[in-house]
């Protein structure tokens, strides 16, 4: 006997407790309510302190670099977020450079050379996951040192208690407080903005009105706060600042709002190459041809792949060393190694990688693996070379830390004029320090 065909083709089918249209109505209201709640929650969270949210996720499996047989091994842990594009670039750089470094003598610590066994774990920039990952590095992998990302705040107490030295790539001021004896910050995130802004302010002293646009995430909010601080230090006023929602792709209305504010100079960063490029394009299309001061540096090759150079007219910033006619040796070495590994230079952001270069320089200078003795040498300060330029560890008196814990780098300043990027001046370390001194109010 054949089965009776189901003729209930319409939504008036019998026997369901919830019809499709009822679901759709509820879904629409639920979606709007969730969006409203999330937005209001974001507003409330912005008013209070950011507390890390506990999760139940665990660290992903580690990825180790190969170590040549028969040589002394130095285990170094690395915490990053596999889903964050900037950290993916960091990972690629490490995968390219560490084997090269190991094959060309490794790190010389006194009379002994070491090959780095780099163990990477995904911390997801999340407190629970990153802490689990660090505990695994400390207890199971027994690493000697750790290279940290923006999650360092979450797990720093663990490493301080374990007596492990950490070199982080994080703009957080908390990790540099004097209570932390074994943590250092290697990137230019804290200091380059002051150099760039100071140089631009001196070059164009009549500019007083600034407008800014940053993504409404952790980094964007930090950059917005930084812009406010820079303007206050150098005598400008932020006439308009827009924090745009993550995922914004059309900046036309935002650009119209900014242009209507009457600002003389525009500053943005933190959205990524494509997003920042779209923002510049929108500003130009809205009729803004004024100055653009970019506090995190500019990579002409990468930026002009997104939008043509005319959208960057009157842009002033520091120039990526790789794109100079004669890049420094460390930059050229990294460039060659990366291209050999991956086939092309796809303009990876290298600033997190400074953690490795600082660690290497510190170990070679201190000639010891002992974390406490190494920290003493670092706290005294020294200069070193890196692909991001000639650098120096400096103190942070504004954080009540008289010991050297942060880094500045000599930069090359340039501007985009008439469709071309022109090198204007190289800033020395001393000049870099003076700009930071004025910006941060160091005595």
């Amino acid at each position: 006997m054949s089965e009776k065909p189901d003729t209930s083709l319409n939504d008036e089918a019998q026997g369901r407790s919830v019809s499709r249209r009822e679901f759709l109505k509820l879904a629409g209201m639920a979606g709007a309510a969730i969006g409203l709640g999330a937005g209001l929650g974001g507003l409330v969270a912005a008013c209070g302190d950011d507390e890390p949210t506990a999760t139940t996720t665990t660290a992903a499996a580690g990825a180790t670099t190969t170590v040549a047989a028969g040589l002394q091994k130095l285990k170094v842990g690395m915490i990053l977020d596999y889903s964050f594009p900037l950290h993916v670039m960091w990972q690629h750089i490490m995968e390219a450079y560490v084997p090269h470094m190991n094959s060309t003598g490794g790190i010389k610590v006194g009379d002994q050379a070491y090959e780095v066994d780099l163990i990477m774990y995904d911390g997801k920039r999340d407190s629970e996951t990153s802490r689990s990952a660090v505990q695994r590095l400390l207890n199971e992998d027994k690493v000697e040192f750790i290279l940290g990302d923006e999650s360092t705040d979450y797990w720093q107490p663990l490493t301080e208690q374990a007596g492990k030295l950490v070199i982080a790539g994080s703009p957080s001021p908390e990790i540099l407080k004097p209570i932390n004896k074994l943590t250092f910050q290697a990137t230019y995130l804290n200091t380059k903005p002051a150099q760039i802004w100071g140089w631009c302010s001196e070059r164009w002293p009549d500019v007083k009105k600034v407008m800014g646009g940053h993504p409404d995430n952790l980094q964007g909010n930090e950059e917005s706060r930084k812009l406010e601080m820079l303007c206050k230090a150098w005598g400008q006023e932020v006439v308009k600042e827009i924090l745009y929602p993550m995922g914004t792709t059309d900046f036309s209305a935002i650009a119209t709002t900014l242009v209507a504010s009457g600002g003389e100079v525009f500053s943005t960063c933190g959205g990524g190459d494509v997003s920042d490029g779209q923002f510049f394009k929108a500003m130009k299309q809205a009729g803004f041809d004024g100055a653009k001061w970019i506090t995190v540096g500019f990579v002409p090759g990468s930026a002009t792949k997104v939008v043509p150079i005319e959208n960057h007219e009157n842009l002033a910033s520091s120039w990526a060393l790789f794109e100079l006619p004669n890049p420094p040796a460390a930059a050229k070495e990294l460039y060659d190694v990366y291209v050999a590994k991956f086939g092309e230079w796809d303009y990876p952001a290298i600033f997190h990688s400074q953690t490795l270069w600082l660690l290497k320089a510190a170990l070679e200078k201190a000639a010891t693996l002992d974390a406490t003795k190494l920290a003493e040498v670092m706290h005294a300060g020294f200069e070193f070379d890196s692909p991001d330029g000639h650098g120096k560890i400096i103190p942070r008196p504004d954080l009540d830390n008289p010991q050297c814990v942060d880094c500045i780098y000599a930069v090359t300043m340039g501007v985009v004029e008439k469709g071309e990027w022109k090198v204007i001046e190289e800033l020395s370390l001393d000049r870099a320090f003076e700009y930071n001194k004025k910006t941060y109010g160091w005595a």
Binding site: S8, L9, L24, A32, D216, A253, A286, V306
Partner: protein, 294 residues
């Protein structure tokens, strides 16, 4: 101030046009009974990536890249209907199964895109770089072209649905499939055509917006905004889809000027909530029972 307000209107129109296109496509898909096409936004993303890959990597002329992207997303949409939704469409107790199927499809496409393209953004070279200025109001040429092309496409869709036999058949099966079947209409074929055209519209929107907005995997999340826009405009109403997209664009444009960017989105969600409370069918939705009528 007056010029700024007019400029913001033009900006809102350019923001809203992509949602008008996608909402129209989503309305078509919604006309198919018993499927919850949550993965709709992924077709927008795939259309954009197809254009990026074809133009930037393969060197294909932009217009041809868009045509290929539309064909590809249409085929993928048809396959999705045939392989995922049709087997489950008329089973008993299929409601939750259809939701799970829709979510599963969304996850598969999304994760596959992540594995292939990664999390980074891409850019497609702009086709037009000039700006048209009229009485101080500026609009980029590429956006003028997009608005114009979108208007033509939406008009063509309207003519298809209202003036052609096939369109009447599609509307008939969305309203009463059993009665339409009795009239000789192949309901299953009409459903597949609706899904195919809907997904093609999403791919088309992604393709034409790629040079303007850039390309990244996360743009698939626009699908959820499209659903809200459709709810706002009225499920089953093409004019409602256009109105919803316009309201969305204007609320973002004026909202971010007067209250802030993040707050503008909150404002939009609040507006939808209020409207749905008092008019569950949306602004131009005639009656809740007529959902599914194109």
């Amino acid at each position: 101030m007056g010029r700024t307000m007019i400029q913001l209107f033009v900006d809102g129109l350019s923001i809203g046009v992509v949602y008008m296109l996608m909402s129209s496509g989503f309305n078509l898909v919604m006309a198919v009974p018993n499927i919850i096409f949550i993965a709709f936004g992924d077709f927008y993303m795939l259309g954009a990536f197809a254009v990026w890959y074809l133009q930037v990597r393969a060197g294909v002329y932009y217009l041809l890249a868009v045509i290929i992207a539309v064909i590809a997303t249409a085929i993928l949409g048809a396959l999705s209907y045939v392989l995922v939704f049709r087997p489950l469409q008329f089973r008993r107790n299929q409601f939750l199964t259809n939701i799970i199927a829709g979510v599963g499809l969304m996850l598969i496409i999304g994760q596959a895109a992540l594995m292939i393209f990664g999390t980074g953004s891409r850019s497609v070279p702009p086709v037009f770089t000039s700006v048209i200025e009229v009485l101080g109001v500026r609009i980029p040429t590429d956006k003028v072209i997009v608005i114009g092309i979108s208007a033509v496409v939406l008009l063509a869709l309207h003519i298809l649905l209202r003036k052609t036999r096939r369109g009447r058949a599609m509307r008939a099966v969305s309203f009463r499939a059993d009665v339409a079947t009795l009239q000789g209409v192949n309901a299953d074929r009409m459903f597949m055509i609706a899904v195919t055209i809907g997904c093609a519209l999403a791919g088309f929107a992604g393709g034409i917006m790629a040079p303007i907005l850039g390309v990244e995997v996360s743009m698939a999340s626009n699908g959820f905004l499209v659903m809200l826009v459709v709810m706002l405009g009225g499920v089953g109403s093409m004019m409602g889809a256009i109105l919803g997209g316009l309201v969305f664009g204007m609320s973002l444009s004026y909202g971010q000027y007067f209250v802030g960017s993040g707050e503008a989105q909150i404002l939009f969600f609040a507006v939808i909530l209020v409207i749905l409370l008092f008019k569950p069918g949306g602004l131009l939705g005639k009656n809740i029972e007529e959902i599914g009528r194109v």
